[in-house]
Symmetry: C2
């Protein structure tokens, strides 16, 4: 029986250490300037296929890492702010995520939130579950749903930091982008990854970004 | 008449954003674990020649960046802690730097410190001047000494941060190493480089590290 791992994959990080820009809202899902964090991934075939487009880089290093992000993944965990620009209690249940009727997950997605909401079944096998009992309980449910496959921790920065500090993350694949963002959400500041047993096990530069994989 | 620039060159940065490890002392001039920040440079021909050794990588990307660090440099500025493991007032003038009788600078080196000390002339054209009137005054003196060439700001982290925040740095060449250090001196945290007008103008990965050049 394979052991399910919790993995952060294809997570963009700027030179100055930010995983998202400031002032996230409906126009800037990754914060102001945050699109630079994803530009490498958006160009890949994997990303384009997932969003119903064709073409894209088929064979490069970036494509290989983007594809890894969906291989052997049985469930996702994401934060409320990654699901929605809404803050506070749900005013209604009209918001169904950033991804249209057929989101690119195609499995159960557990949304960590303080505000309960009924599960939301989408096309293509994605169901959003809204979890209000904390990150450990959410991980248990996601692991069960993954049924032996791994759980991908999608973000945002705040949720990744919470899982890191709780010692629950098995692997982090960072894509370091040659960009400054100036301010925003710092991914690793104040977290002693060495003390927690992580080391860098892969260093693979592409023409656009440098991929680094941390494991313990 | 060329305008002299203030440049930070060959400055190592870990994945987690540190430019030096913790607990610097005589055994750990870059702090505990800090040697990983310099390993790429130590292997280059430039570095080996400067330290009186032969061999080393002659043609690679790392050598090109290491060599840039000494081209057109007319003076250096370094912090007291980069000159010496001594803290507080000088107990005597016995400490003459980490680099032996013939240091690799071969020009005037201005040491920013709170504690006055007479200039120290070494072999090979290096003279250390101990400057107690602050970073701006030191930059003026170094620029004068550089006589049209550039001034290299050697470090450590604290001094680079002071010059950055004062808006006095023209160029920063970072070598991002695929290593975690866990704790130490964060180079860029809390400094909004975008607001200050910096952007990344070069991205050159080598097999060991990724070189990024920031300019404004």
């Amino acid at each position: 029986m394979p052991v399910s791992k919790l993995r952060v994959l294809s997570f963009g990080l700027t030179i100055d250490g930010y995983g998202a820009g400031p002032s996230q809202d409906i126009k800037n899902p990754l914060g102001v300037g945050g699109e630079s964090l994803l530009a490498w991934a958006v160009a890949t075939r994997t990303f384009r296929m997932l969003h119903g487009a064709s073409g894209g880089d088929e064979t490069g290093i970036d494509e290989e890492f983007a594809a890894r992000g969906f291989r052997n993944i049985g469930a996702w965990i994401i934060g409320r702010n990654m699901f929605s620009p809404v803050r506070g209690p749900w005013p209604n249940f009209g918001w169904k995520g950033w991804w249209g009727d057929n989101p690119p997950f195609h499995c159960d997605v557990f949304v960590v939130t303080h505000f309960p909401r009924p599960p939301l079944q989408m096309e293509g096998g994605t169901t959003f579950y809204f979890e209000t009992e904390g990150i450990e309980s959410t991980l248990q449910k996601a692991t069960q749903a993954a049924d032996g496959k791994d759980v991908r921790l999608g973000g945002g920065v705040s949720l990744v930091r919470q899982y890191l500090m709780a010692g629950l993350v098995d692997e982090i694949h960072l894509a370091i982008v040659p960009t400054l963002i100036g301010t925003g959400e710092s991914l690793l500041s104040g977290i002693d990854l060495v003390k927690m047993g992580y080391r860098c096990v892969e260093y693979v530069p592409s023409p656009k970004v440098v991929h680094m994989v941390l494991r313990r």
